[in-house]
Amino acid sequence: MLNVGKIEEGFVLDHIKAGRSLSIYDHLGLDKLDCTVAIIKNARSNKMGKKDILKVECDINMLDLDVLAYIDHSITVNVIKDGEIVDKKDLVLPRQIKNVIHCHNPRCITSIEQELPHIFYLADPAREIYRCKYCEEKYTEHSKKRK
């Protein structure tokens, strides 16, 4: 078993579906931050068989983790301070997500104006339905897989 040392301040994102940690790394914009990140792929898990884990050493106010709620509800977010877990963050569906999924409607303005961000708003929180800000095209679980 591979051992990765504990962090002093930051987050441990646990129970990530095996193989998805790099995608989450991208969505959180970790490539742009000057912080220490450990990506653990295919760790053994009693609950999941295999899972990924991300350890991010950073100021705990630095990351917007709401996007995780859209990507995967089952991720556990442990908030670390002084080397200890001080909180387990509840993931709340973000009211708006930017450049996480792309609008696939060929009639949408985003299909021709390349510089436009792909922005989706939460149209129906109960059913977790997001719609394109510009054309109102619906995006559901099926669409996420198309990204």
């Binding site: 009639r107 949408c108 303005i109 299909s111 510089e115 394109c132 800000k133 510009y134 054309c135």
Partner: protein, 303 residues
């Protein structure tokens, strides 16, 4: 600064004020003849349109203002690859208000985000066409006396028909309205609209037979099956003449039912229906000018 992207951008109270103003314009046209002296409307039309563009031009001209613009993408900088956001930044320097039509859904919203002047969505793809909706609402209010307490049938292309989408959104806010959606299976109302109707508990039915619907309607809103919305020519040819309103079908309707149509029509309303007093689609065109005049005055904060 206000814009108009969607019929829901105005509250029902604001719409009442707009329609009252349109009514005053209808009866006192000379009072408004110089209301927009020295002001310029830019009509940025990236796809062909005769009626909507001329209606805007007529409205601004009747208010004493002037009009500049282009009437298809080929004669604009879009043909050189200019983005909508750049175009509106430029147009903001030339004009005081802009009406934009674009084949891509959401294009006027992009313009709004980068504009220094009010932007009016004059139709974006199959998405929204709010000024047609304002026209439809003013026509119904003027000819039926109120916006509520009726059964309205929308017939034809309800999948891509933006006029139908916008009208449904707008009517949802009034009391006691029942919808009958009359279309072939392939051209049903998009699910995002039926989801809202369900959540608001607004009664609606989806049916295919226009004959069955006729006796139940207080208003019939006919739409054209638009060739430009289809990627497949075969589908268009198969569906284009699915509904034809003729005198035989009109005989099934109530004596006070009204027929509306956003125009242009092709075959979906037979010309023999034009002389029926219930045919209101040419009156609708006139109301379109009044409501656009009222809208321009409102967005320019001159009303």
């Amino acid at each position: 600064m206000r814009h108009l992207m969607n019929p829901l951008d105005f509250t029902t109270q604001e719409l009442d004020r707009l329609f009252d103003l349109a009514g005053d314009i209808e009866h006192n046209m000379e009072k408004y003849a110089h209301a927009c002296d020295g002001l310029i409307l830019a009509t940025c039309f990236y796809e062909p349109s005769t009626r909507t563009r001329l209606s805007f031009e007529s409205a601004m001209t009747r208010l004493g203002g002037r009009v500049i613009g282009f009437s298809d993408a080929g004669s604009s900088s879009a043909s050189k690859g200019e983005s909508v956001s750049d175009t509106i930044r430029v147009v903001s320097c030339y004009a005081d208000i802009c009406a934009m039509r674009h084949p891509k859904e959401g294009a006027p919203m992009v313009a709004m985000e980068h504009s220094r002047i009010p932007v009016i969505n004059a139709g974006d793809g199959g998405h929204q066409h709010p000024t047609q909706t304002l026209t439809d609402l003013l026509t119904i209010r003027s000819l039926k006396g109120s916006l509520g307490g009726f059964t309205i049938g929308l017939c034809g292309d309800l999948k891509f028909g933006r006029t139908a989408h916008s009208l449904i959104h707008a009517l949802m806010r009034y009391e006691d309205i029942r919808f009958l959606f009359i279309s072939p299976e392939e051209l049903r109302v998009p699910d995002y609209i039926t989801e809202i109707l369900k959540s608001k508990k607004i009664p609606y039915e989806e049916i295919t037979s226009l004959e069955d619907a006729m006796p139940r309607l207080d208003l019939l809103y006919m739409t054209r099956v638009q060739k430009e919305r289809f990627f497949n020519e075969e589908d268009y040819i198969r569906l284009k003449d699915f509904y034809i309103l003729d005198t035989a079908k009109m005989e099934l309707a109530r004596p006070d039912m009204l027929v509306l149509h956003p125009l242009p029509r092709v075959n979906e309303i037979s010309v023999e229906v034009d002389s029926d007093p219930r045919a209101a689609y040419f009156k609708q065109v006139q109301y379109g000018v009044y409501v656009r005049m009222a809208l321009i005055l409102t967005l320019l904060e001159l009303a």
